[in-house]
């Protein structure tokens, strides 16, 4: 695929283009790391797209206090949303899907509210040169986004493999009930996973905001679908229990390559959504068929 596209599209192999792909992949990847934690316990968060927008708006609003404070506030905001999602899911025992679905609506309203009150709904330009340059930082020529992704991925793997929380998450295997019966503190691990997810989303959002130097109420909208697709490509099953973050990265990479090809050939934006949605379905299908073949008993258990 790479060969075909490099022949077909004149600008494909310019380092700028490949860099773009890598960067976008990393941003999605960072969010996917967080989502992985949730998926491993059988939940997911549908509101992450709007969390991204919220974080960008928070940064824009608090920039006058300085860069560090605004970043810290943004991270706290993100984690707050995650905490709320987690608490409602565990304490009120409401299905996580519905909670995050509702949160999606609530955040949408909140984002619009903030956006309307500041600039009558327009995007907010963040007038801070240093912040804008965060995105441009390099570590031996590797963009900071990629570095952050790799670092977070390594941390995540370490947590999952070598800590008690990580072990409990794997053991949950997508079924919170059995985990609870096994003595796992489901409240703690659910909260941990929601917080981890929102933290990753917030980090990614900060980097994204730095890249575009604007904040808007719709900045993150497309990311919910992309992140879920990424995780599915990476082989994280909803029956839980197995997940590999680096698989996810390569999956997202492939996806972004496809997206990039479309962009370069000037295909309309909405076809991107079509392809993204279809990729999700196709990957799910492949995943489902290979799983069934491996263990027929899983067919009954599915859901």
């Amino acid at each position: 695929m790479i060969i075909i596209s490099s022949i077909a599209i004149p600008n494909f192999f310019t380092s700028l283009n490949l860099l773009n792909i890598l960067v976008e992949t990393s941003i999605i990847g960072i969010m996917a790391i967080g989502m992985t934690f949730l998926l491993l316990i059988g939940l997911f968060d549908m509101s992450i797209g709007n969390q991204v927008s919220l974080v960008s708006l928070v940064i824009a609003l608090t920039m006058r206090f300085g860069i560090i404070p605004s970043i810290v506030l943004a991270l706290i905001t993100g984690m707050l949303v995650g905490a709320i999602n987690g608490i409602i899911t565990t304490k009120l025992k409401i299905n996580a899907f519905i909670v995050t679905f509702a949160m999606l609506g609530i955040l949408k309203g909140a984002n619009l509210l903030i956006s309307e009150s500041q600039t009558k709904g327009q995007s907010i330009f963040i007038d801070n040169a240093i912040f804008g340059n965060i995105f441009n930082l390099n570590l031996f020529g590797i963009p900071i986004v990629v570095v952050v992704f790799v670092v977070l991925a390594v941390i995540a793997e370490l947590i999952l493999k070598y800590t008690k929380v990580g072990f409990e998450i794997y053991v949950s295997g997508g079924n919170i009930e059995t985990a609870r019966l096994s003595g796992v503190n489901t409240f703690l691990i659910t909260m941990f996973c929601f917080l981890a997810s929102s933290l990753c989303v917030a980090i990614a959002a900060i980097l994204l905001t730095s890249r575009v130097i604007t904040a808007s109420s719709v900045l993150g909208e497309k990311y919910t679908l992309l992140v879920i697709t990424a995780c599915v490509i990476g082989g994280i099953k909803f029956t839980g229990g197995y997940g590999n973050i680096f698989n996810t990265f390569f999956g997202v990479l492939a996806m972004q390559l496809v997206n990039n090809i479309m962009y370069m050939t000037n295909t309309y934006g909405y076809i991107q959504s079509l392809i993204n949605g279809m990729i999700l379905i196709i990957v799910l299908s492949i995943d489902r068929f290979t799983t069934i073949r491996r263990s027929p008993s899983l067919k009954l258990k599915l859901k």
């Binding site: 009120l92 299905n95 519905i98 509702a102 879920i228 697709t229 379905i281 799910l284």
Partner: protein, 316 residues
């Protein structure tokens, strides 16, 4: 489990009845325009599309699943219907209906046959159908060709009652019968309430699911036609976000997310609640963003109350 007796049904929905009455009282106090005939007719006309979609969505949810793509199906069918008014009314009605049914059936295939997680699958089809809608209209607004018969669907009256309301009542009665009094309805309850048991009873999960999703898609297309007829225009994102209102409405009305519980009556009452609430927003001049927040909070409260009451009956 299935709430067929009148008493059980009343218990299931008395919460929403109370909430509805309270809401009506509050809004009547808040605005003197609320109880006028024209306003009530307006509410009913707006709520009719929501109500029709809620009927379909109820089937899916009672079956233990969810359909997030109904908004996109509405957009797609609306655009098709709009473009086809240039041919003749019949095609502008029949073809979108078929497309809606087909989209629903596709969802049903993914969830019922391939056993994907319904949230993930319909999230994917949401994107796919929405993109198809964009593709179909090239991203543009579409204007419908003037057509008296077609116009009547959304804008006409039948003895002072708006035709959309008539369609809603018809759909309501049909679905009420389907869910409450047919074998199929019972199967949907069984599959939603206890899939394992249903399987042992010989009920095909795949067939039931495909049918419920197809009905949901069909309802979306009916609403789409009414929408287009009302405005005589369509745009690619017409239905975006509608699934949120529909799901909130039916959950408010006592349809359980986990499946196996709920009534069409409850769904309609939930729709009325949302319809009045939205009308209240407009009458009281509440800005759009607050609406979103309130709706989200209501959804959580509705499900929360549902869960708590379920917990109570379990312990009883």
């Amino acid at each position: 489990m299935s709430g067929f007796s009148l008493k059980k049904r009343l218990i299931n929905i008395n919460g929403i009845i109370i909430a509805l009455l309270v809401l009506i009282v509050i809004v009547s106090i808040g605005s003197n325009k609320f109880l006028s005939t024209s306003n009530i007719m307006n509410i009913l006309r707006q709520a009719s599309t929501l109500g029709i979609m809620a009927c379909g969505a109820t089937f899916v949810m009672v079956g233990g699943n969810i359909d997030l793509s109904i908004g996109s199906i509405l957009s797609l069918c609306a655009l098709m219907s709009c473009k086809l008014t240039a041919q003749n009314s019949t095609m502008a009605i029949l073809i979108p209906l078929a497309v809606g049914f087909a989209c629903g059936a596709f969802n049903g295939l993914l969830v019922g046959k391939f056993r994907f997680n319904p949230f993930i699958a319909t999230l994917g089809t949401l994107a796919v159908f929405q993109a198809l809608a964009f593709f179909y209209s090239d991203g543009k607004f579409l204007n419908a060709t003037q057509n008296n018969f077609y116009k009547q669907i959304g804008q006409g009256f039948f003895y002072k009652v708006p035709i959309p309301v008539i369609i809603l009542i018809a759909v309501f009665l049909i679905f009420l019968y389907l869910l409450g009094r047919t074998v199929f309805g019972r199967q949907v309850f069984a599959v939603g309430g206890n899939p394992e048991c249903a399987r042992f009873s010989g009920i095909s999960y795949a067939k039931t699911t495909i049918l419920t999703y197809a009905l949901s898609g069909l309802c979306a297309s009916i609403s789409a036609i009414i929408f287009v007829s009302r405005q005589m225009a369509a745009q690619p994102q017409m239905g975006a976000g509608y699934e949120f209102d529909v799901i909130t409405a039916i959950v408010l009305g006592g349809v359980a997310l986990s499946g196996g519980k709920g009534t069409i009556w409850g769904a309609i009452l939930g729709v009325l609640f949302i319809g009045i609430l939205k009308n209240a927003f407009i009458l009281l001049g509440i800005p759009l963003y607050y609406q979103y927040i309130v709706m989200g909070v209501i959804l959580i409260l509705a499900v929360g109350i549902d869960v708590i009451s379920e917990g109570k009956t379990k312990n009883a």
